[in-house]
Amino acid sequence: MPLDDIDRLIINTMQGGFPLSDRPFQVVAERIGISEKRLITRLRHLLRDRVLTRFGPLFNADRMGGANILAAMSVPKADWEDVATFVNSQPEIAHNYRREHAINMWFVGAGESLEQVEATFARIEAATGLEVLRFPKEREYFVELKLAV
């Protein structure tokens, strides 16, 4: 979908935040110089066309009593399909990516507790015979989301 200047302005303005106020779209629309109604319509289209993946509060699972752990495995080519099928079948696996590296399968285990995610990783190790390398977050550095579009 081709983006025009207003779309770009909307995305650039709203990456940084959305006001907590009674008429927040009105506040943003005034800043951009369009009407509230137009802003809402544009956002609906940007979400529908998947230019935006989300609009709303972004939650940090780590602060909500849950556990979210990145892990990775070196999966031999011959076993790739079977391993991917097993890993993806585990409900605690939220994301799974193939990456170009000797350690080639990268996934995130998410659950209500560390124990739950650990049990999932142990199941994967037992079923595949491969070591699951755990990469828990030790520290998160602040990022300013300001992708220029």
Partner: protein, 161 residues
């Protein structure tokens, strides 16, 4: 790191984890079915933002749809004595969307700093990697960049009720 959340906070999280409604008064639209006022919802979201449960309220762009095709996970082996100072600086770079310190897994994995870098093409991403390398200087003993070549599974964060 856990922040105590009460039943009302959890109801607000459940009601908004799929996104805010696209109506002129979105907080009222969230509040009414929960028997709350818009002001209560805003206060609680503000409090959750202060405690870090909510990172921010806003939009999340789809990098690929916006022309950012070369999205790499860059990984760095940085001296433990300075990794936190340098990690903060890298997080502030405009092309970095996530930046974490994670444990090394020797011998297979010597890297302790992870930064997601977004470029429109491989050349642009390579320039960004060079900028990070400059910033790290001699504190960095090695690095790599891992491009994703397939999404095998992707489900959003879902908090159980």
């Amino acid at each position: 790191m856990n922040v105590p959340l009460d039943a009302i906070d959890r109801q607000i999280i459940l009601a908004t984890q799929g996104g805010l409604p696209l109506v002129p008064q979105p907080y009222r639209a969230v509040a009414t079915p929960l028997g709350l006022t818009a002001a209560e919802v805003m206060q609680r979201l503000a409090r959750m933002q202060e405690s870090g449960v909510v990172r921010r309220v806003g939009v999340v762009p789809n990098h690929y749809a916006l022309g950012y095709q070369a999205n790499g996970m860059t990984v760095w082996d940085v001296d433990d004595a300075v990794v936190d100072t340098l990690g903060e600086q890298i997080g502030h770079l405009s092309f970095v969307s996530h930046c974490y310190r994670r444990p090394r897994r020797l011998p297979a994995w010597p890297y302790n700093l992870f930064a997601m870098v977004h470029g429109r093409n491989l050349d642009e991403t390579a320039d960004y990697v060079a900028k990070i390398a400059d910033l790290l200087g001699p504190a960095c003993r090695g690095h790599d960049i891992l491009y994703s070549s397939g999404i095998l599974k992707k489900t959003g964060l879902r908090l159980g009720a």
